[in-house]
């Protein structure tokens, strides 16, 4: 992403933090793939079937293409906002892949691959990004704050981490009714500082809801690095205080993330919740309104490129003999074509209307809202310049 460099500013970016994935054993990070994508890590290859790994890879590549195109749309003024997910593809696609389609997902904002994995329509996704009317979210949410009930995906309440106990409460409800549905909630490293994270783990230690708390530790909460977020050596160990099962995993290794999630699901009858700290890295900006040059150095970002989740997965596929070079270009081309078709269709849809914003405040509107809506429409009609 070629943003203009800021040449003068107060302070200076921090010294780069070495990539923790290079010291996985020492740091207690479960890892299947090494930097070269070979299954030589500290835990065995889960030996997933070819179709699953190829679908994970294709989804990850599509997420990266979506991120590229979304960024261009924002930078060229066709879309108001963008939240990049580059670098975190394995972390969310690997964990979503371990779930059943009936399991509920509570999204954060860097998991478009969770929607794609479940077959979300790109047109619907871009209708959300563009704030179009013919989309259930009706232009009310910032781009990437996705949700889709038909896919069992709950959109996030925007305050970081505020929804972690919503997911746990939903899981608790399922448990109270004796249902077998499982739940996952995505959040970042910064969210672990919020009270809701601690509320959710505290309640979960007592009541054992069937949930995976998936902390995507991407190194940065906007400009705040891990060691300014917490003095705990890891985010995972925060679970110990609440007697919640926990694991730390290489978040740029889809096989390790898949295996850790599958184990968390298998452990639910005994333990209920698991906190997974998925150690990954945000390669892009926090959002399109961010400027990471103010707080981190390019060489830190570059050092993570050696651990790129997409490169490692492709190398693994080659190693298994499941992927040919000519498939790569075809995949990128078809992903981009599909995305551009979604953009085109969504851009052609009408914008959300002012009156539609008054819907869904309550199931049935009331005279207060009706009067405010009618007054708005009347004033818009009669308040023109004379």
């Amino acid at each position: 992403m070629n943003a203009p460099k800021i040449v003068s500013f107060e302070g200076a970016p921090r010294e780069p933090v070495p990539v923790p994935l290079a010291r996985a054993d020492e740091l207690g990070i479960e890892q299947v793939l090494d930097a070269d994508g070979l299954p030589r890590g500290n835990r065995p290859d889960p030996d997933l079937d070819r179709a699953t790994v190829v679908k994970m890879y294709e989804t990850m590549v599509t997420v990266a293409a979506l991120d590229r195109i979304g960024w261009q749309l924002q930078r060229s003024g066709r879309m108001e906002f963008w939240i990049p997910s580059r670098g975190q593809e394995a972390s969310h696609v690997g964990s979503t892949a371990a779930l059943q389609p009936t399991d509920w997902i509570f999204l954060s904002d860097r998991e478009p691959g969770s929607c794609l994995w479940r077959g979300a329509s790109l047109t619907r996704m871009f209708a959300q990004f563009f704030g179009r009317a013919d989309e259930p979210l009706k232009g009310r949410r910032l781009p990437l704050l996705l949700g889709d009930r038909s896919l069992n995906i709950v959109p996030p309440t925007t305050q970081v981490g505020s929804y972690i106990p919503h997911a746990a409460g939903a899981a608790w409800a399922a448990k109270l009714r004796g249902e077998s549905t499982r739940f996952i909630v995505y959040f970042g490293d910064g969210a672990t500082s919020r009270g809701e994270f601690h509320s959710a783990l505290n309640f979960a230690g007592i009541h054992h809801p069937p949930i995976v708390f998936l902390c995507q530790n991407n190194g940065w909460a906007v400009s705040t690095p891990n060691d300014r977020q917490t003095a705990s050596p890891t985010f995972a160990e925060k679970a110990d205080a609440y007697a919640v099962r926990r694991v730390r995993v290489d978040g740029n290794d889809p096989l390790a993330v898949y295996a850790a999630t599958a184990e968390a699901l298998a452990a639910m009858p005994e333990h209920g919740a698991t906190l997974i700290e998925s150690v990954t890295y945000r390669m892009g900006f926090h959002t399109s309104s961010d400027n990471p040059d103010l707080y981190r150095r390019d060489d830190e970002v570059a050092s993570w490129q050696e651990w790129d989740p997409i490169d490692r997965t492709r190398k693994y596929l080659h190693h298994r003999g499941w992927w040919e070079d000519d498939q790569e270009q075809a995949l990128i081309e078809s992903a981009e074509a599909e995305i551009r078709a979604g953009v085109k269709e969504a851009e052609a849809l009408p914008k959300a209307t002012p009156e539609s914003q008054f819907e869904d405040v309550f199931e049935s509107s009331n005279w207060m809202l009706d009067e405010q809506r009618d007054r708005l429409l009347e004033d818009l009609a009669t308040g023109g310049a004379r």
């Binding site: 509920w104 989309e135 259930p136 979210l137 009706k138 009310r140 949410r141 704050l145 949700g147 889709d148 009930r149 709950v154 959109p155 309440t157 305050q159 505020s162 929804y163 972690i164 106990p165 919503h166 997911a167 746990a168 409460g169 939903a170 899981a171 608790w172 409800a173 399922a174 109270l176 009714r177 009270g195 809701e196 509320s199 959710a200 505290n202 309640f203 007592i206 819907e359 869904d360 405040v361 309550f362 199931e363 009331n366 005279w367 207060m368 809202l369």
Partner: protein, 329 residues
Amino acid sequence: MSAEMTVLQATTAAMARALDDDPSVVVMGEDVGVVGGIFRASQGLQQQFGEQRVIDTPLDEKGIAAHAIGMALNGLRPIVEIQFSGFIHDAFEQIMFCGTKYRWISGGEYTCPMVVRAPSFGGIKGGFWHSQSPEAYFVHGGGMKVVCPSTPDDAYRLLLAAIADPDPVLVLEAVPLYRTLSGVVEDDGIPGEIGQAEVVRRGDDLTIVTYGPPRHLAVRAAEEMAEREGLSIEVIDLRSLVPWDRATVSTSVRRTGRLLVLHEGSQTLGFGTEVVAAVQEHDFGYLHCPIQRIAGHDMPYGFSIGDEYYRPSIERIRAAVRRSMEFEF
């Protein structure tokens, strides 16, 4: 079956009825189970319906509200007790920026039918944190229905209505009336209507619009001023703030031409401010005098004399009525 019930017993009866009728109803909060809540509003319910339905939680208002939201998203109808409404503010963001917004942010795909019961109001020598009237915070910004019962029958029927409602409802319960006011309640499971005011007393000279415990003070003042000063005062108990019953207020004010708004919550941007603004906007030409308001003050509620001087008193009501009646242009 009809019985004489206190406000507290009517509250318990409504929860028992809901737990019995609807397996998706759960009661949760601090100390609500084994001891039945610090006011005993849920006394006996855990024994009757079990620990899975009446749940003692950690001491964490934010966490209680947030987990209830999640339960509601997944088909339960949680009734949350916040021990005192002075402690609700830790859960404010959860209630007002999460629970009340899910329907809207998901375009109606996810909904949050939860009830938050908040024991409120002064009169028990509780000091600041145990004498709160937090309604104004919750009527602002949308998505929350707010009701304020102050009779045994309203406590029963508005709580049932809140539980049956498809959206979040805050029930501000009248702590000082819990054990001091009783009346006959028919335990028939029929919910009241949220948004319907009650004309408690008919009158022609002046309208008092109120809700919560001051309703009873207003009636006392009206009766006394009728007897001693020959004044005919109408008293309207709003009972519900979102939505509120502007039509009933408007009809009354157009007849009496004089309005006093009365509540315990702080004056500035208290709910009375909305009533005053709406009446001046819709009924301006019918007013004989400026609208009066009696409210709590923009400061904390003191322990030793707050019950007498922070809360509206009969002296302040009389003075405000006289200001209206004696006003000359």
